[in-house]
Symmetry: C2
Subunit: 374 residues, 2 copies
């Protein structure tokens, strides 16, 4: 069976419905992938994710490479076995984290040298090494190493960086195909479209990289500080070029409104730390809008956390507020669960609405009500 | 139906099997009660506790009185409703916490004035007020206010303190009976046997307090630093005096070995923060003994967390170690679950062994194997 099955494209917009067929289950798209940086989606158990119907989660190559390290990963039979998760996993290339290390990394044609944020030890990631690490991790979907251009970089810097990322991408694909699998399940590899904030570079990069038969294409280097409209424009321009037959993944995006706008522009896959990180700060994403649960107004609230979602326990906003004020771990658990539940509901509903041809109308109505109550 | 049903007393020891009949379910004794200080057993969800077959949990009057406060408690319909737990709850009197506040409290015949550890605000607990607070909380079992004598207090101080606690206990019982119920379910009240480290005072206190028809008797002021053998001796002496028809609760105790020794001496109920607090520090109580999960030796361990307990996910010690080293919340969740599971297994097994007449033999064998592997 083909990896990606395109089921329907919206008539009014570029929104698409598809399925990613992996050896760890089918993933309906559009999909949101909860971030499990260190082999756990923070504050949730794996079985919570199954209850919430998460079909795929993310792992971060940079973090897992440093801790627990690849010897442990090999010993346990890869990331799925290590964390006891038999649904799909996508791993990033580690590039984003390494390039965030500012003073701790040095870049060359061969790759990037960096120092661990944990113990200062020196390490080197080449495009090929990152393929090997991800083969060991055994992720269903892996990313190529790329340089993440800082926001504000000029065109000259961006072009030079883009050429480097391009060479790495080509080398990564060759290496991916030439070295053997370690585990038995199929693995897929995505290229990452770069080009900074320059539409001409974004266009050129996408046109060149689609010449290679990657299993999917992601859009990287966005949501790094640029105006939201520019992010939408660059996404739109890129999905115009990407082949309809391959899945498209907008990396690190974003808010519920960002996700719906990107779905409208033809994106299939998303990941973001927003729902999990903000949950731990007391920000809840709900079908009624965003709320800060620490707010005094919830002290006596008998309302459920989100009236749209039935829950056996039906915890109230008042109880959840108490848990946050009292700094209890259960607060983090319940808030995270709500936010992931909401994000998965959002993409699932978008999918249903694309299938029934009501996507644009629903998106408009939902966002108007959702944003109004912020 | 009577509150306490005594089912069997061991022939070789003073160990007992019983049932506490509450309006929130039957509680088999001996029982361990997980501590849910602020309306949550730290790091566990209520449904986890149900899975683990916890029949009763503790709430702390001092903490809940300060936060969220009694107005919130009234508004939500009591503690059970507030935290969505429809099994039994026991609340302490707040005395233990208040008397731990060293510089922040002033004691008189009427009660104790103290300052909140949260915001420094002044409050006053009298024996009667503590009854009223617990009526509002709606706990199934409540405790009387008592003065907790610091370890090392001399006989004169201890006697004076004991007389105060005694007067408070008598006043508490009268008040408990004279004021109306707030919620519909039955509430029960336990006295607390004091007397410090003096066998003669312990004996005298127990003999005097059993003249009053409390629903149960607890043994307080132990496990405060004294030699373990003295704790056992004072417990033994007290249960010799307490009526067989009433449940006995040894407060704040203890290690697995403490619990088995106290069961042997006729105690029915236990609570302790040890399994939950130590879990968060990486100490696991298992049927194989205690382990520190951060230890390097578990880095590559494929062993389940406790081979005696089947678990859907079957997380390994290696993964749990990684979660602790990486400071992940899931580590706290899994370790806490293991420890509570183990404590509940311990008292459940003790109960079975008392019923089959094998308690003493089993205890000996279990402790020898458990302590050896520490």
């Amino acid at each position: 069976m083909n990896f990606f099955e395109l089921i329907r494209t919206d008539v009014e917009t570029k929104a698409r419905v598809g399925i990613l067929h992996t050896d760890h289950g089918d993933i309906p798209t559009p999909i949101f992938m909860p971030v499990g940086t260190q082999g756990t989606v923070k504050a949730l158990e794996q079985r919570n994710l199954i209850e919430l119907n998460a079909q795929i989660i993310l792992g971060n190559t940079y973090h897992l490479y440093l801790r627990p390290g690849m010897e442990v990963m090999k010993h346990f039979g890869g990331l799925h076995q290590f964390i006891r998760w038999n649904r799909a996993i996508l791993t990033d290339s580690g590039g984003y984290q390494v390039f965030s290390l500012q003073d701790l990394r040095r870049i060359s044609d061969e790759g990037v040298e960096f120092r661990s944020h944990i113990d200062g030890s020196r390490h080197f990631f080449s495009a090929k090494k990152v393929v090997e690490i991800q083969k060991t991790l055994g992720s269903d979907i892996m990313m190529v190493l790329d340089e993440c251009v800082p926001y504000g970089a000029d065109e000259q810097y961006t072009r030079r960086s883009m050429e480097l990322s391009y060479r790495w991408a080509v080398g990564s694909r060759e290496h991916f195909k030439s070295i053997p699998q370690i585990w038995e399940h199929r693995q897929f590899q995505f290229a990452i479209c770069q080009g900074g904030m320059f539409p001409n570079l974004r266009k050129e990069y996408a046109e060149r990289v689609i010449q290679y038969d990657f299993d999917g294409f992601s859009i990287g280097g966005l949501s790094v500080g640029e105006p939201t409209e520019l992010m939408y424009e660059l996404t739109d321009l890129t999905t115009d070029i990407l082949p309809a037959t391959k899945p498209r993944y907008l990396m690190g995006v974003g808010t519920p409104e960002n996700i719906l706008e990107a779905i409208e522009r033809g994106v299939d896959m998303f990941d973001c730390v927003l729902p999990t990180r903000n949950a731990r700060n007391g920000q809840l994403f709900t079908t009624q809008g965003k709320i800060n649960i620490r707010n005094q107004q919830y002290k006596y609230s008998n309302e459920p956390i989100d009236s749209a979602f039935a829950d056996d326990e039906n915890y109230t906003l008042g109880y959840l507020r108490h848990l946050f004020i009292a700094k209890e771990i259960l607060g983090l658990i319940l808030a995270t669960r709500q936010n992931i539940r909401f994000y998965l509901w959002l993409v699932r509903t978008a999918r249903e609405k694309i299938l029934t041809g009501e996507f644009r109308q629903w998106k408009k109505e939902f966002l108007s009500s959702y944003l109004e109550k912020k």
